[in-house]
Amino acid sequence: MSQDGHENREVSDERLMSCFRGMLRIRLAEERIGRLVESREVRTPCHLSIGQEAVAVGVCSSLRSDDTVWGGHRSHGHYLAKGGDLNAMMAEIFGKATGCSGGRGGSMHLAAPAQGIFGTVPLVAATIPLAVGAALAAKLRGIDQVAAAFFGDGATDEGHFHESLNLAALNRLPVLFVCENNGYSTHLALQERRLKDNIVDSAELHGLHGCGVDGNDVQAVYAAAADAVQRMRAGGGPALLECRTYRWCGHVGPAQDLDVGKHRQQELQEWMQRDPIARVRERLTSRGLGQDVIEGLYRQATEEIDVAVEFARTSPAPDESDLLQHVSVARRGI
């Protein structure tokens, strides 16, 4: 795992600030969603990525706006980091007509095509081959667009993952496979699902670039992703990034699932000590950022979230007459 390595120090103050802002926004938005779930105002299943913000933000910071991002059931962070609209996400979670999927999808089905998000879905590993397809389309069109697939360690148990790596490597496709290894797949810890803790080795096996990083260090994630993306744009083929991180909440909703896994309580405490947000904040403070600016950022994010929740609350529910709309489109959307 690369710690505070040489290349990381080159990350500019400006970029680090923007990463901090992005991570904070995701954290605060998800904490709010957690409370809305607890109060039953939100009923759609919400899988929170609290504790994993550095992966989404580090990777998306290395992408251009026309690059695409493919996610799964735990994708609020990916959506926001790639530029998805917060109001539209909140409204989607509330099941409102103004939601990014018109209230049809809920938390597990987010989309923002203009920002490069063409759909996230909860079937584990389902979007990994779709990302490969997006990269294939870019290659065939002769454009240097990159596709990033976000998935968990659980998804690497699926055949989709292995088949996709091979297909992408064979065709040198510009796809960044980002494994957010948070140690769990629902109730099962990594050790209960594979004999070896070796996800990143799949890269070597299939002949693509592989890199393991500390997923709680946004600089490290950014540096590794930026390096891989640069290589890809130059025709260097796909890469697998294994980001070690931890989800503070349980599989679904804000509860912590402390009953899951013998060591979950102790692990959680240890990982909270490695809070990715506190780490950037400290780094920025050591570079001279004032406390007042930091407080301002918290306030700004909170206000933005207040607005989004209010927007969601006051938006209309989809009309029943809308039920059969969009089963098919009249013509291609993009």
């Binding site: 009923r43 759609t44 299943p45 099941g95 409102k96 007509a97 209230g103 049809r104 999808g105 809920g106 597990m108 089905h109 879905v121 909860p122 079937l123 584990v124 590993a125 659980g154 998804a155 148990d157 699926e158 055949g159 989709h160 797949s185 629902t186 109730h187 099962l188 209960e192 699902r193 594979r194 599989h251 529910a317 989809p318 009309d319 029943e320 809308d322 039920l323 059969l324 089963v327």
Partner: protein
């Protein structure tokens, strides 16, 4: 007899089958965790050990394929898919392999396999966590498909499925888990392919599957207050379905409504309607009506979910239409 819930009845069937026959084992996601299976598999791992109650990685294809292989070798696996949607990743071992095997090898090799799939409709979970895909599987020769509606059948059909010697898809519905009913404590089977008349009536036959049986019974209560006597048939086995019971009921009533909480086009209800229309046309005094889901994926928003899922009221409306 004691009253058990539907989920407890499923659990009891597993426990008794495993106690009785060392060839029976359980494999799938969440078989050791109540998150997915509710109480329907509770503590089976403690009773029978983790070697026979295998909580698998997210690997539906390999898990199901392995169960097919073990079944070919004479074991009696039950593969568990906590949402039917996830099972689509295992289409090859189910459709191409398990269903074909006996025919391919002239009955010299068979696949005594039970695949248990859970329907998990509603709850704002969206299109990929709520699909009722019985028609997809009923289409395939070599697969039997059962859908218990009561605790009694939940146990008896699982026992019969395990003992059938062929690949059987056992589809249960989370909406039914808390339903109570009498369940004998013996290890009994409910024969595959046999429907049950849950209520007799002379005006109209309502053929229903799984949770729609309960909606149909409720509808029949309402209809009775309006002077309409509905006969409610619980299909129990979707493939092969019980023509005798359905046909003799139509012979009596001359009218049919088919209620299946899955999509209408190309569905189970379509098959039943076409068969009845083709073979009992002269007995019919009214057009057949299907009560099914509209042909759209499941929406999440509550307002849309309410419009999407069919219920007793839709059956009442359909029956009244046939009575006109």
């Amino acid at each position: 007899m004691r009253a058990l819930t539907y989920a407890q009845a499923i659990r009891e069937a597993h426990a008794q089958l495993m106690a009785e026959d060392p060839r029976v084992f359980l494999i799938g996601q969440g078989v050791r965790n109540p998150w997915y299976a509710g109480t329907s598999l509770q503590d089976l791992d403690k009773e029978f050990g983790c070697d026979r109650v295998i909580d698998s990685p997210v690997a539906e294809n390999a898990t199901t394929g392995a169960a097919v292989g073990a079944a070919i070798m004479g074991m009696r696996p039950i593969v568990f898919h906590p949402r039917m949607d996830f099972m689509l990743l295992a289409m090859d071992p189910i459709v191409n392999q398990a269903a074909n095997w006996s025919y391919l090898f002239a009955g010299r090799v068979s696949v005594p396999l039970v695949i248990r799939a859970v329907i998990n409709r509603g709850g704002e979970q969206g299109a990929q966590h709520s699909q009722a895909l019985q028609a997809l599987f009923a289409h395939v020769p070599g697969l039997k498909v059962v859908m218990p509606a009561t605790p009694y059948d939940a146990k008896g059909l699982l026992v019969a499925a395990v003992n059938d010697g062929n690949p059987v898809l056992y589809i249960d519905d989370r909406w039914l888990y808390e339903k109570q009913g009498d369940v004998p404590d013996s290890l009994y089977g409910v024969p595959l392919g046999k429907a049950a008349v849950r209520r007799s009536g002379r005006h109209v036959t309502v053929v229903a599957t799984s949770c729609m049986v309960h909606e149909a019974l409720q509808a029949a209560d309402t209809l009775a207050t309006r002077g309409i006597e509905a006969e409610v048939i619980d299909l129990r086995t979707i493939k092969p379905w019980d023509r005798d019971v359905v046909f003799s009921s139509i012979g009596k009533t001359g009218r049919m409504v088919v209620a299946d909480a899955a999509w209408m086009s190309g569905g189970v209800a379509a098959d039943i309607a076409a068969t009845v229309a083709g073979e009992l046309f002269h007995a019919l005094t009214a057009p057949i009506i299907r009560v099914c889901l509209p042909d759209a994926p499941a929406p999440t928003a509550t307002s849309l979910e309410q419009a999407y899922y069919v219920n007793a009221n839709d059956i009442v409306v359909a029956v009244e239409k046939t009575m006109r």
